[in-house]
Symmetry: C2
Subunit: 240 residues, 2 copies
DNA sequence: ACCTGAACACCGTTCAAGT
DNA sequence: ACCTGAACACCGTTCAAGT
């Protein structure tokens, strides 16, 4: 605000005398998310972040207590975007709503592989994580279960989402991320290794290798989620 | 083997002239697991491992390509212990067998918080992870489903297990691990924070805070697993 | 074939000093 | 109140040299 000043006419819009950098928690987290998206959790160093913000390393510590808290807060800030996606969710079927919320979470996490590991870790720190847990729980509360069942079912849905999403998210091992190898080539290579196994010793692997080779992460997630939700619906029906 | 020599009588059994350290992949992984159990993934540095093995840092690199592979292989070596626990599993109900296998996995992972993040990451490297995936898949194959359903259901079970186990495993935040704070105190503190929330804005949190405060990780896991397995049983029945 | 210490190129975090 | 550069105490990994 002290910077505000009317531009004098004709002067090119160059930054004038180099002032010292000024941040905010928002800009720090935004910078962190940019780096995370570009190069993953490994790439987010305090030095890299300070460089991007155009300041010194120590200034980051004014806003966060350390790297771990930075990761937690950066992840939580991204999670806030989910609420826009699920603003319209609210049908007369709680199970349908749960599916919609879970799929939105999956979509958000899956193309941010770094996100899965840092979401829903510290609800005291992570406001959006807490609100999402609350949102899911409110749908489960509509199913007519006991408090204990509500608690367990909500935790199961959340656990399944972040568990499998984190798992799928970390799948590509560096070479895929960097673009040296396509996802198809990567899957084909593993499928090849699996086909080389003894089919007598590995009947299941042999049985599903074709499915694995052409599988789609989103469909796989949706199928597993539907199994869980089917079990939940059953519990709900027998409770009435 | 060149070391072998008959002890001359009366001489104390001290190590004689200091010979240079000699390792094996097994001893390297065993040392790594010891450190991981004592101080978690963060505590496993190459230097700490080398010191425990009584050798130099660089010798570790003869057996593993780097720290990541060390973690992967250490995790997989622990996973091998599960097969003893599930040796007797094999009833006429595949769902019961799946529950037994999943619970064994949970029990193994839950008191080794570091394990969850490194299990089932690279089946080309991790033999036991592959065999466990196979073992679970073989049970699912008995349910009369299509290959696609078998693939999806097996992945869902595995995803749920490692997802929630990893989640529960990482729950205690340093202070609990070090023994400064008991689990009860930790849960009570969070419960206190939750009770301080506005009950109108957080009806679900308010509804389950009592359950959360006295919850048991194993029961919570079992309850979620049962929902998933109930959905799977339903799918199996409608397939026949 | 396997082990070694030293060196390299990084890290996260702290601190005394600035504005 | 917020930012800075330099310093500290670590890291993982490599390498030339040993046995």
């Amino acid at each position: 605000m002290a910077e505000q000043r009317t531009e004098s006419a004709g002067r090119p819009r160059q930054p004038r005398t180099r002032t010292r950098a000024s941040h905010s928690l928002e800009s720090v987290l935004a910078g962190a998310v940019e780096i995370l998206d570009e190069s993953g959790a490994q790439g987010l160093t305090i030095r890299a972040l300070a460089a991007r913000l155009g300041g010194g390393v120590a200034s980051v510590y004014w806003y966060v207590s350390g790297r771990e808290e930075l990761l937690d807060l950066a992840a939580d800030s991204v999670l806030g975007g989910i609420f826009d996606q699920i603003a319209d969710v609210g049908s007369d079927d709680p199970i349908d709503d749960l599916r919609a919320i879970a799929m939105a979470m999956f979509d958000t996490i899956v193309d941010r592989p770094w996100l899965g590991a840092y979401v829903l870790r510290d609800t005291g720190l992570q406001v959006h994580s807490l609100q999402l847990y609350e949102r899911i729980g409110e749908e489960v509360m509509r199913l007519g279960l006991t408090p204990r069942q509500v608690f367990h079912a909500t935790s199961a849905v959340v656990g399944f989402v972040i568990g499998t999403a984190a798992d799928l998210g970390q799948e590509p091992p560096a070479a895929v991320v960097s673009g040296e190898v396509t996802r198809e080539e990567y899957l084909a290579r593993i499928a090849g290794e699996w086909r080389a196994l003894d089919a007598t010793a590995y009947p299941f692997i042999n049985h599903i290798v074709g499915e694995f080779e052409r599988h789609n992460d989103r469909d796989q997630f949706a199928a597993g989620l539907d199994l869980l939700l089917a079990g939940l619906r059953l519990q709900s029906e027998s409770a009435r």
